[in-house]
């Protein structure tokens, strides 16, 4: 297992190199001058030129990239143009809020979707199944910005029981977590249902039933574990995406997270911060995929994780 983890971590290196190159060159190709963006459209030309020189923007892109990578391998992701703080510090400052939101969103999604998915599969075409599937479709279709605003209207404005935004007030995470969790619930419910349906049609389930095993035990003891593998894949991948931040939801709920940080950085041409955020996000997704592989082995002992290929 340890060997496997080390191998996966080493595989991160080419991924990060690829991501830095792509992101850096795309950001450099983007129209607009970061110096002009920082100083405003009417800045004195001397001030813009002075800043361009200071930021190294007058160097050829390839030189800028080489300088960036040199700093990068020394653990320096640069300094944010807007705030003047180190990028890594800025990212780590906002990351806990994003992690908290991702965790609770996934929590909401899992506790709702797994039971509904199982019941829908076991009682296929029943009323519960139909309601569950219509609900899932609705959950997938509702845009987050709308759902977020509706939740604020009901729970903050009308009922006055939950805060409308921010991250420090008690219970502030509930509404954004429900907003993000709704979409996730829909995906996971559908995945759980189809995976469970496939599993309960397997021969070994029929055998277990023929042997007279209690129906509940067939589902929870025999079918669930096997049906969970694709669901775990979806959960881990979605969790990885959540760690990239949910910019729309974060903006609606004034949640100080990575999504908002990244979007602001891109909009304001804060190149080091945007690149730093995207690289850190790539790392977060890779790590969550690695966790997914490890979970496979725990859920299904037939899957063996090995360090080298055979």
């Amino acid at each position: 297992m340890l060997k496997y983890i080390i191998k996966r971590l080493l595989l991160l290196i080419p991924v990060i190199l690829g991501v830095t190159a792509i992101v850096f060159f795309i950001m450099s190709l983007a129209p607009g001058d970061p110096a002009l963006s920082i100083l405003g459209p009417d800045a004195e030309p001397e001030a813009v030129e002075h800043l361009r020189e200071e930021l190294g923007l007058n160097d050829p892109v390839i030189v800028q990239y080489a300088n960036y990578m040199w700093d990068f391998i020394h653990g320096d992701l640069g300094t944010s143009y807007n705030s003047g703080r180190p990028v890594l510090e800025e990212y780590l400052y906002f990351f806990p809020a994003t992690f908290k939101l991702a965790f609770w969103s996934m929590f909401v999604a899992v506790i709702i979707s797994i039971p509904i998915g199982i019941i829908s599969a076991v009682k296929q075409y029943s009323l519960i199944d139909n309601i569950g599937m219509v609900g899932a479709l609705a959950g997938l279709s509702i845009p987050n910005f709308w759902l977020g605003l509706m939740l604020i209207m009901v729970f903050s404005l009308n009922l006055g029981i939950l805060p409308s935004g921010g991250a420090t007030a008690p219970g502030a995470v509930i509404l954004p977590a429900i907003t993000i969790g709704t979409g996730l619930t829909a995906t996971i419910t559908r995945m759980m249902r189809s995976s469970m349906l496939e599993t309960i049609r397997q021969d070994y389930i029929r055998t277990a039933r023929a042997k007279g095993v209690n129906s509940k035990k067939v589902i929870t003891g025999h079918a669930l574990r096997n049906a969970l593998i694709p669901v775990v894949t979806v959960i881990c991948m979605d969790f990885g995406y959540c760690l990239a931040g949910a910019s729309t939801t974060e903006i609606v709920f004034s949640w100080p997270g990575i999504g908002r940080l990244t979007v602001n950085a891109i909009n304001s041409q804060d190149r080091p911060l945007a690149i730093g955020c995207l690289i850190m996000t790539a790392i977060a997704i890779c790590v969550s995929n690695m966790v997914m592989d490890i979970l496979y082995a725990i859920i299904d002992p037939r899957i063996k994780l090995t360090g080298g290929s055979k």
Binding site: P31, D42, L157, I161, L162, G165, T220
Partner: protein
């Protein structure tokens, strides 16, 4: 490994219940019955607050509350008021400005404010080219509480620049730390700052002036306008800015006070005077007549803006109130175009900032189509649009100016612009250059105003640009709160906020 499924589910549901109950602890950011603290929503993150480098509207909230300037300003009379400077003199030749400073002012860290701080502020301001010290060579401390600005050449704008929000006096030697370590002499000082989340300021007990009524102000970041409106309605937030699109919803709520102020931003349609068609005055005049400004205001700004006749808005000294813009008249526009020899029309491109002028651009496109001018829309992200427009490569462009002095609005027409990298109009007009140059070195206010009016008259006669509108800015607060001062210049001042019965 066989577990009781129901037991697991119950455990999970219990956890969920606990999780839900955490949220029922209380209302949001602002608790009722706590008049000591008010919450104000900002639309952007307060991440860096360097008065000489960060100029988004919300930054000014902190510049006004936590810092002082040498001068204050009476918005009614247009007179300068004493602030950190108790009095000031200008030498006859306009080459020296002497400011006598208060001797009872302490920085937030308890140290004495002296002339050295002003000298440092001016030095850093000139180095960072912040624009608040036009033609100032340097400043000297005559004694601890007297400071002298020495000019390279006379410039009438110096005093105008000493009262604006970002002319904040910073502490000697603070360097670039000023952006994250707010150390001012103002009525409030920073208590707690969670970047991206909130910034709490508290009344400064050692403040030299009157103590503010509100003991604490908490600034929270809320980028979404609907969310800001609902947060004020829910009582989580006490003051917030909202765009024109939300104003109807705010008006329907009788518990809200709406503060409005004519913004000093002036939006215009710029024309490139070196363009084959636009170099012809008849064409420019035809375009002016073809544009219905009210349609633009109604569609893009819900009607909340005032049509502009000249480039300097009415609230700014130097506004030429007697000049009226060319009226909307499609037939006249067509006739002028025919007279210019373009009865069949031609093609033009309109460059603008997306997210800011999309609706305006589409309406102008439709209006110019009426007279046969086919406009291609060239919407770009802000910095990319500025780059193209400033390089003099746009044909038509949409832009705005916003400042506290007429020179700033009119300077886009100066021929200097053709070589300094901000070439919006590709214009060289001797009359305009002469009027602007003379205004700059004229210390007498009335004489200077005359030069600005002369400049606007030439611009009107020559149809240099099409001034479109000045927008309106809105803030909302609950009815029992008063004193939000929306300033004609950037931002709003929160020092006067107080509770009312």
């Amino acid at each position: 490994m066989k577990k009781n499924w129901l037991r697991t589910l119950s455990l999970v549901l219990c956890l969920a219940l606990c999780f839900g109950l955490i949220g029922c602890g209380g209302p949001g950011e602002a608790e009722e019955g706590n008049p000591e603290q008010i919450v104000i929503a900002t639309d952007v993150d307060l991440k860096a607050l360097d008065p000489m480098g960060n100029w988004s509207g919300a930054c000014y909230y902190i510049y006004w509350t936590c810092y002082d300037r040498l001068l204050g300003y009476d918005y009614e009379t247009g007179e300068f008021l004493p602030e950190l400077a108790t009095s000031w003199e200008v030498s006859e030749d306009g080459m020296e400005y002497i400011f006598h400073l208060r001797d009872d002012v302490k920085w937030h860290d308890g140290t004495q404010f002296t002339a050295k701080d002003v000298v440092y502020t001016v030095k850093r301001g000139i180095e960072t080219q912040c624009g608040n010290y036009p033609s100032v060579s340097h400043a000297e401390a005559i004694d601890d509480f007297t400071v002298k600005y020495i000019m390279n050449e006379p410039n009438s704008l110096v005093l105008d620049k000493q009262w604006i929000g970002d002319a904040a006096i910073i502490q000697d030697g603070c360097g670039d730390d000023v952006a994250t370590n707010i150390m001012g002499t103002g009525a409030y000082k920073v208590k707690e700052w969670h970047i991206g989340e909130h910034l709490i300021i508290e009344a400064n007990p050692d403040y030299w002036g009157e103590q503010p009524a509100i003991k604490e102000i908490k600034y929270v970041t809320m980028p979404e306008a609907n969310a800001r409106l609902m947060a004020v309605q829910a009582g989580d937030v006490h003051v917030a800015s909202i765009p024109a699109a939300n104003i109807k919803a705010a008006q329907e709520d009788e518990n809200l006070t709406i503060y409005t102020n004519q913004s000093t931003s002036l939006n215009y349609l710029g024309m490139n005077h070196s363009n084959e068609y636009l170099s012809n005055k008849l064409v420019r005049q035809a375009i002016y007549h073809a544009i219905n400004k009210q349609d633009i205001i109604d569609a893009a700004l819900e009607g909340y803006a005032v049509q502009a006749d000249v480039l300097v808005p009415p609230s700014i000294q130097g506004h030429a109130k007697d000049i009226k813009g060319y009226e909307y008249d499609v037939e006249k526009a067509k006739a002028l175009l025919a007279e210019a020899g373009y009865a069949d029309g031609f093609d033009l491109e309109l460059t603008y900032r997306t997210g800011m002028y999309d609706v305006q651009a589409q309406i102008i496109q439709a209006q110019l189509k009426e007279i046969g001018i086919n406009v291609t829309l060239d919407g770009r992200e802000s910095a990319a649009a500025s780059e193209k427009i400033n390089a003099g490569q746009s044909q038509l462009n949409l832009g705005y100016r916003g400042s506290s002095n007429a020179d700033y609005y009119l300077s886009i027409m100066h021929s200097d612009r053709m070589t300094d990298g901000r070439n919006i109009l590709n214009l060289s007009n001797e009359g305009i250059d002469a009027a602007l140059d003379k205004a700059k070195t004229t210390i007498d206010t009335d004489a200077r105003t005359q030069e600005y009016i002369k400049c606007q008259q030439i611009a009107h006669d020559e149809v240099v640009v099409v001034p479109l509108y000045s927008g309106t800015v809105f803030n909302i607060s609950p009815k029992n709160l008063a004193g939000v001062q929306l300033l004609p210049t950037s931002g709003s001042d929160h020092r006067q906020i107080h509770w009312v019965e």
